[in-house]
Amino acid sequence: MTEARPSAPRAAAPPRSWWRANQQRLTPWLFLAPGILMFGLYVIWPIFESFWLSFYDWDGLGEARWIGWGNYRELRSDPAFYTSLRNNVLWLVLYLLAVPAGLLIALFLNQTVFGIRLYKSLFFFPFVISQVVVGLMFSWFYAPNFGLFYKLVEWLTGTGVAVLADPDLVTYGIIAAGLWPQIAYVMILYLTGLNNVAPDQVEAARLDGAKGWRMLWYVILPQLRPATFIAVVVTVIGALRSFDLVSIMTDGGPFGSSRVLSFYMYEQALSEYGYRMGYGAAIAVVLFLIMMVFISGFIWKMVRDEREGY
């Protein structure tokens, strides 16, 4: 407050000049206010509230009862929780296949022939469609007795497989459906990246005799690093957020074998199985902490880039 003294005479001047003296300092806060208010109310605050709720036993209507670590203790011996966790790991690992697959398609399409623009858009097409629709499409694709995939397997091996009714295969089937739009997304990231690869470096490497895989590995991929970073970020986040496809294609079944944490949380907190808000919040906290590991990594890298840039 001691610094306020020298400016005291100015405060006595008309408010217009006080504003003029301080507007550079105050303007950003005025511009930020509505955004921070909304984001704080609907995103930041609920995160803390969920943490707090996870220590309660609450049905969403009556009185909430403090049970300490009770929900977490229950999670530790809940087989459905472990199934969901295992499926989440499976999602994470297999979903990352979208990155090389997307790169492959991008390399295939990175040509200049007649009509290539239309081909690129049509390859990208699955990403624009809602996951609900993608889920319904793949349900039809896998449908026992008449689905295209079922028929194909039947034709190849003699007996068809009902992917979505088989507890061992169901998660793979759903992940395959999820990969379809995700590969399209990664592809478009890489197509844009390839478009910006420095042509002189490629030519120079060519003169040095680099081609094929070596060229890709040593010359092209290093230049595609920003695209790869974004592709990995969106794929990891997408894998851990997977909910829509599970809900649409199997509703967690058969026998809960295709549940993932996000779906199990929803099931516990908001479905006919009962309104266990506290238990649901505990599952959400676990998922949040898992995601925070990745989010912190991404943010750490972004902060580092930011510092280097300025």
């Binding site: 507007q23 300092r25 950003p28 511009f31 930020l32 509505p34 955004g35 921070i36 909304m38 984001f39 109310l41 609907y42 995103v43 609920p46 995160i47 509230e49 969920s50 709720l53 969403g60 040509q111 200049t112 022939v113 390859f123 097409f125 699955p126 624009v128 469609i129 809602s130 996951q131 609900v132 629709v133 499409m137 039809w140 694709f141 295209l148 379809w180 478009i188 990231l189 844009t192 990246g193 010359v219 920003p226 851990l240 957020r241 829509d244 809900s247 944490l261 949380m265 929803y266 907190a269 908001l270 649901g280 919040a281 959400a284 998922l287 949040f288 995601m291 943010i299 972004m302 902060v303």
Partner: protein, 281 residues
């Protein structure tokens, strides 16, 4: 250019490549084509086991039936009523936040920026119970406004990231010059920066439209009745009613997917520019 242009391998390679493209595309879009074909298949075909041969006749009536026998028209309208205000709100808020974070240097700038970025990545489930509870308390549960307000708030995270990086890349001299002239800060925003943000606004609008139209999770958490439910959630309940009527399910799916698809093809360049911002440095 990488890989080496096919043209450099002679006309035979170009012809082979151009023949390969439609085959690859056909395989890639197989599930989509299957559903498109099913959506115009007469029920008689399904009964006779003709599941993926050519339809015996084009039953455009399936589409009429979907609108006649289900509230899908209502659902579509609900989606539109939720999506359009969300796009306007999120883009408007992020023009402000993006300007503040992109132009001014102050101590907590990066901290606030990364709060928006990190918040945009969190799992929806950590927000679900409190947001639903808050909506119930405020009387916003199962209303358009409840869904719109949440979507605006959440999308502000991604939009701020986008807008701030866009503004950062604008020439700073413009703003400095205006300040030397004594132009008020809000006028700098309104008359200098905002006109330059037009491409970013277009790109974000198309993207957010698609994201919100396709949202399913919040639609199921915050709405329950056909009067307010968006088409994604509606399609889920219709799927339960139309067991084994695959031609209707398919027609409904295509109707629901159409608006974002049309938006994409109409505004393709903006869409891709928005999605790939940051993919090149």
């Amino acid at each position: 250019m990488f890989p080496r242009p096919v043209q450099s391998r002679g006309p035979a390679a170009v012809a082979a490549y151009q023949a390969l493209l439609p085959v690859a595309l056909l395989l890639w879009l197989l599930p989509l084509l299957g559903v498109a074909l099913t959506s115009v298949r007469p029920t008689a075909d399904l009964a006779a086991g003709n599941y993926f041969g050519w339809p015996s006749a084009f039953a455009w009536d399936n589409y009429a039936a979907v609108f006649r026998n289900s509230p899908i028209g209502r659902y579509m309208l609900n989606s539109l009523i939720v999506t359009v205000p969300t796009v306007i709100g999120a883009v408007a808020l992020s023009c402000l936040t993006g300007f503040a974070l992109g132009v001014y240097r102050f101590r907590s700038n990066l901290l606030i920026f990364f709060m928006f970025v990190a918040g945009n990545f969190v799992p929806f489930q950590i927000l679900m119970v409190p947001v639903r509870d808050m909506s119930v308390q405020l009387g916003l549960y199962n209303t358009y406004q409840g869904l719109i307000l949440f979507h605006i708030a959440f999308q502000t995270g991604f939009c701020t990231l986008f807008m701030r990086n866009f503004i950062r890349a604008l020439p700073r001299e413009l703003i400095e010059a205006a300040r030397v002239e004594g132009v008020a800060e809000w006028r700098i925003f309104w008359f200098i920066v905002l006109p330059l943000m037009r491409p970013a606004i277009a790109a974000l609008s198309v993207l957010i439209f698609t994201f919100i139209w396709n949202d399913y999770f919040w639609a199921t958490v915050l709405t329950t009745s056909a009067a307010t439910q968006p088409v994604t959630a509606g399609l889920y309940s219709l799927n339960g009613q139309w067991i084994a009527q695959w031609n209707l399910v398919s027609a409904g799916s295509i109707v629901a997917a159409l608006p974002p698809v049309l938006m994409f093809f109409a505004m393709q360049r903006h869409f891709i520019a928005g999605l790939t911002l940051g993919a090149v440095k």
